[in-house]
């Protein structure tokens, strides 16, 4: 891997970033552009500048809502949404700590729930998330959570499926395949 651009284009989702002409239509279309540390177009410029640490530790891609408006409007077929996912994976797998957003923690709780049950147990996921981030914030969620619970939309006990064992085996096998590469 000679440079950061190559690293990103080699990651699934980041293939098309070379075509970017920096027109800014992605940032212009993004519902959360001004919340990100660096908007999508700037992230691509930073990738080109080789600013690996700044990009992977930024909170930018974690704000992506996957609304795909940027992807549909980009005149060069860059697919910024998929690039955001690629950057999230790189950041996560290489242990970058992100300041200024709790989204990674929520995603991790989500995935733990899948691994533990085979399907997402929303209550369990929320429980784990608040425990890891800010238990007091759970209190603010209480009104909504309670309403959902009362309307039978928040089962407390997870449904465990047989497929959970399958998932464990699959993930283990993938680990072996990766290890051998």
């Amino acid at each position: 891997m000679k440079n950061f651009v190559e690293e990103v284009t080699a990651t699934p989702g980041g293939e098309n970033i070379r075509a970017c002409i920096q027109c800014g239509i992605c940032t212009g279309s993004c519902p959360v552009a001004n919340e990100m540390e660096y908007p999508p177009r700037e992230i691509i410029a930073m990738i080109r500048a080789g600013m690996r640490d700044e990009v992977l530790s930024s909170n930018s891609m974690w704000y992506c809502l996957s609304c795909y408006m940027c992807t549909v409007r980009c005149p060069r077929g860059v697919k910024p949404t998929e690039m955001a996912h690629a950057l999230e994976c790189l950041a996560n797998q290489q242990g970058f700590r992100v300041k200024g957003t709790r989204t990674p923690a929520m995603y991790r709780s989500f995935v733990s729930s899948i691994k533990g049950n085979g399907r997402v147990h929303e209550f369990g996921m929320m429980f784990r998330y608040y425990l890891a981030t800010n238990p007091l914030a759970a209190l603010k969620m209480l009104p909504v959570g309670l309403k959902l619970f009362l309307r039978k939309r928040m089962p407390l006990i997870p449904k465990r499926v047989k497929g959970k064992e399958d998932l464990s085996k699959l993930i283990k096998k993938l680990g072996e395949i990766r290890g051998s590469q």
Partner: protein, 299 residues
């Protein structure tokens, strides 16, 4: 009778209970047989694909392999499950090496995948296979001009699947009209509700939800309809939070499109899970029956 392999998605047993119930309820009347995929597991959705893309594809592929054995199209009502499974399917079909790696892992659980499955979303099936004309013909409780704002959300129409226009989609409008309701003009119909960021970035998402509710009210909507579990939860369960944060007083019922169809087909509210909606849909039901009464009494 049209047969499909059915992928409910994790939320249809929990926060999207109303979706899960109503989809099952409307299937038979619309001549659809939705056969739940046996022992399905979570598709992975956005979070898995944002942490480990190779594991995420594998997790999705397990469901694709199971679906392939049925020989039927795999249909899901959840927009996020659709994007994830459709995207994983496309990537596997385009990259032989990835398909090879996935099959190497699937072998451990005695499965394999050859790329034969067609992943579809329920709304596209209703529009394309069942068609609004046929739906209209099965309506026995027309919605009597109920003003509905059809809310597509993002992932139903983007990225461009070639199904509906990403900027100005029309399919949901046609389905709403086929039920005898009026689909009000709704410029923000395909804009984001904030999605899963409602949890870690609540303030941000509430702002987006507020815009959607405001735009619906401005255009005269009596209620909203949407196919997506996350959109429905955000617009419905968080409506009170929007009101307290922005000092508004929205009181718009948000019905799953399958629920709306179910009402028009004359199915009872409990079977449609209408008692799970947070903002009470009773105003909608009252309106429909009031108009029906007025029509019957000849006024």
């Amino acid at each position: 009778m049209k047969y499909y392999s059915y992928f409910p998605g994790c939320s249809s047993e929990a926060t999207a209970k109303g979706l899960g119930l109503s989809v099952q309820a409307i299937a038979k009347p619309l001549d659809m047989e939705l056969i739940e995929l046996e022992d399905w597991t979570c598709c992975g959705s956005t979070p898995y694909g944002s942490l480990d893309e190779r594991e995420a594809i594998l997790v999705a592929a397990r469901n694709l392999a199971l679906a392939e054995k049925t020989g039927l199209d795999l249909v899901t009502p959840c927009s996020s499950c659709f994007v994830t499974l459709y995207g994983a399917n496309l990537r596997l079909k385009q990259h032989a090496q990835l398909m090879g790696e996935v099959n190497e892992a699937l072998a451990v659980i005695n499965l394999e995948y050859h790329g034969e499955v067609r992943v579809r979303q329920l709304m596209e099936v209703l529009f394309g296979d069942i068609t609004p004309e046929v739906i209209a013909s099965k309506v026995n409780q027309p919605l009597n001009g109920l003003k509905v704002a059809p809310y597509y959300g993002c992932q139903m129409v983007r990225p461009d699947y070639g199904f509906d226009d990403p900027e100005s989609p029309q399919s949901l409008d046609r389905i709403v009209e086929s039920l005898g309701a009026e689909a009000v003009p709704y410029p923000l119909k395909n804009r984001c509700c904030g999605g899963s960021l409602i949890i870690p970035e609540e303030g941000l998402a509430l702002g987006l939800i507020r815009k959607l509710l405001e735009n619906a009210v401005e255009n005269g909507a009596q209620c909203l309809t949407t196919p997506c579990p996350l959109c429905q939860m955000n617009l419905d369960a968080y409506q009170s939070k929007v009101n307290s944060k922005f000092k508004t007083n929205y009181n718009l019922p948000v019905l799953f499109t399958s629920q709306l169809i179910g009402i028009a087909l004359g199915i009872d509210p409990i079977s449609l899970g209408l008692n799970t909606n947070i903002v009470s849909p009773s105003q909608v039901l009252d309106y429909i029956s009031k108009v029906k009464q007025e029509a019957n009494s000849g006024t």
